[in-house]
Symmetry: C2
Subunit: 420 residues, 2 copies
Amino acid sequence: MKLSRFFLPTLKDNPTDADALSAKLMIRSGMIRKVASGLYEWLPLGLSVLKKVENIIREEMNRIGGLEVWLPQIQPKELWEETGRWGIYGKELLRLKDRKDAEFCFAPTAEEVITDLARREVRSYRELPLMLYQFGTKFRDEIRPRFGVMRAREFYMKDAYSFHANEADAEATYGQALNAYKTIFERCGLKFRPVEAESGLIGGSFSHEFMVLADTGEEEIVSCDACPYAANKERADCPAKAGDPCPRCGAKVVFSRGIEVGHTFKLGTKYSAAMGATYLDEKGQKNPFVMGCYGIGVSRVVAAAIEQNNDANGILWPLPIAPFSVIITPINFDDPKTKEAALDLYNQLTGHGISVLLDDRPERAGVKFKDADLIGIPLRVVIGEKGLAKNQVEVKERKNPSAVEIPLGEAVPHLLKLLS
Amino acid sequence: MKLSRFFLPTLKDNPTDADALSAKLMIRSGMIRKVASGLYEWLPLGLSVLKKVENIIREEMNRIGGLEVWLPQIQPKELWEETGRWGIYGKELLRLKDRKDAEFCFAPTAEEVITDLARREVRSYRELPLMLYQFGTKFRDEIRPRFGVMRAREFYMKDAYSFHANEADAEATYGQALNAYKTIFERCGLKFRPVEAESGLIGGSFSHEFMVLADTGEEEIVSCDACPYAANKERADCPAKAGDPCPRCGAKVVFSRGIEVGHTFKLGTKYSAAMGATYLDEKGQKNPFVMGCYGIGVSRVVAAAIEQNNDANGILWPLPIAPFSVIITPINFDDPKTKEAALDLYNQLTGHGISVLLDDRPERAGVKFKDADLIGIPLRVVIGEKGLAKNQVEVKERKNPSAVEIPLGEAVPHLLKLLS
């Protein structure tokens, strides 16, 4: 992509109305813009990161047998009344009436609709287990939307739901989903921790939150270095302060902070029993489905990645979710030799399937360097007249303070090696 | 994909509440299910077709320089009041109030939000032209939702918006968009026609509708065989009956029917002038953006493709948007030799990157054949004991009445050739 043809409205200064580091950086880097409280536009740079996260999630959900569906966002009140959540959910549920005064909500989650689907379409234990998932826009009418897209009202979510003939099968799939989630966040290049958590409005017997670790995180995590124990501090049975004994092994616990980006729930028969959603077992007996559900806040992952990976100059994208892998920064694109070398490098790299941003704007080098750092592209190649006179270009990793000089002819293999 | 692990609830009989051929076939083939009036669930088979259409559209939008964004679906009343559409749009606009009683709508289209974005972020003619597009859920509260997903209330749309410094540039991009649309529908394998049309609630000076040709289509098209003239019959200046003179060349016009799947508009300055969205020209003067907008009803394309391509037994998918390219139908999957041959063929084809559905269900052959025809997979391979005894399998193209016997060892190259 040539920057002159891209839409990248970067800002020199922090927006005054952004209240989180990631929100500031997403607005400054031209990833998002705010339309109204809790409502954001995702611009091309931001959307490309979101799509990379989405694709990683989709691949791993498919790998554990998930089947992608697309469920309505506007859902009838009647279904939500069957589980009682129409009454319980409160003002976070955006309720609305259609032209005939029938009542609906903008779905914040889809347990009712998917349980209704299984109730109508799944008859026998032979059709189980079944895991359905979707990507889509969700709405939660937060009383105080904040932290940019991290606690927005409209957000992008992957929600998955599984149906089982018994607890053991539900347990097995739950374990697979936990592993898939670990793979997803590893593949995104993030430091994270799965923790035991409360189930909140989704309910059910048991849940895990996936936390992206960041000092700025809203959630407090209690964990143990001597065993895998980790829990959200909100959990009633968790140790109260650092140094308290681990409930599993008795060693001393430590505290850290994180941002919740995923949540897995063992639902049991909470929804299926309430809605009369049953299958026939081997003996021809009706039983309610045993269920699980598995969410990832895709748009929140993007913000959490920034909270974890940044410095004073801007974002440091982990390579797997970076909007571009390489940025080429010609000092003066009007210089014919610079232009030729820059375009040649651009064509060679894109020919290798590398995503490259070429900063072909008529801006001062300082402006280009600042923007490259701000938007956080992992590798930067600077091409200037001085270097070219020595047949050299400068390669700098965003995460390293210093650059290296590379012979022009070795730039492509050098970059490919850094990216491999 | 192995059918035993897929979610494919096919029906023997037509649903009683479906009022269009495509709606009946989409429900029977397990592509969609109805949740409420005008609200549908897209099941895995349906969604895979939708995603194929989406990907073709995305590639062609990118090719003409389109940049993908994601705009809020819930949009503030204030923006819609700036253009007067809050008042004009009537009951088709789904209006709602948030917890603070602020008014919003569920966007049926996004001219106001995108014009507001350009107003805030685009300053100079040097940043033009700019083409932004998105995929997303739209809502139109139809007074009488019908024809399944063709006139649903919630639907999936690609909407694109372009900004220009002058009419000539807007014309040039409009021409590019028309060509991109032609490429899109050609790549989808559909017979279609672009026609001149009225502009309706979107407004502007000029528009084209893209019609997928089908005898069951709602729209009547007037066209001329002697020149490229084609228009929607709703257009005021179009000939009234077959045989009337073509307004371009005087030859006799003919009538045909179609389904509108895309609409391109030259908006001029309708939105930018109303919203004070301006750029600075070469002389430093403020001018309103000249705009275009370009929609495709992605979910409607899927239904229209079925209206055009079907027979008494079910759907006949054009290969580029077929959910799977090949279905392997073992007569009796419990027979060890049949199973081995079927799995071997499945692995070889998927190894070549072909999408294959293997019907490994313990169903009678007749049930499997009926489902294969119903869901419309372009190529079917039948593997049975009798054929295997002669070392042969049967290959049938969905569109052809007769099958051919092929030696088992030649099945893969034969299928690859048919798919190329």
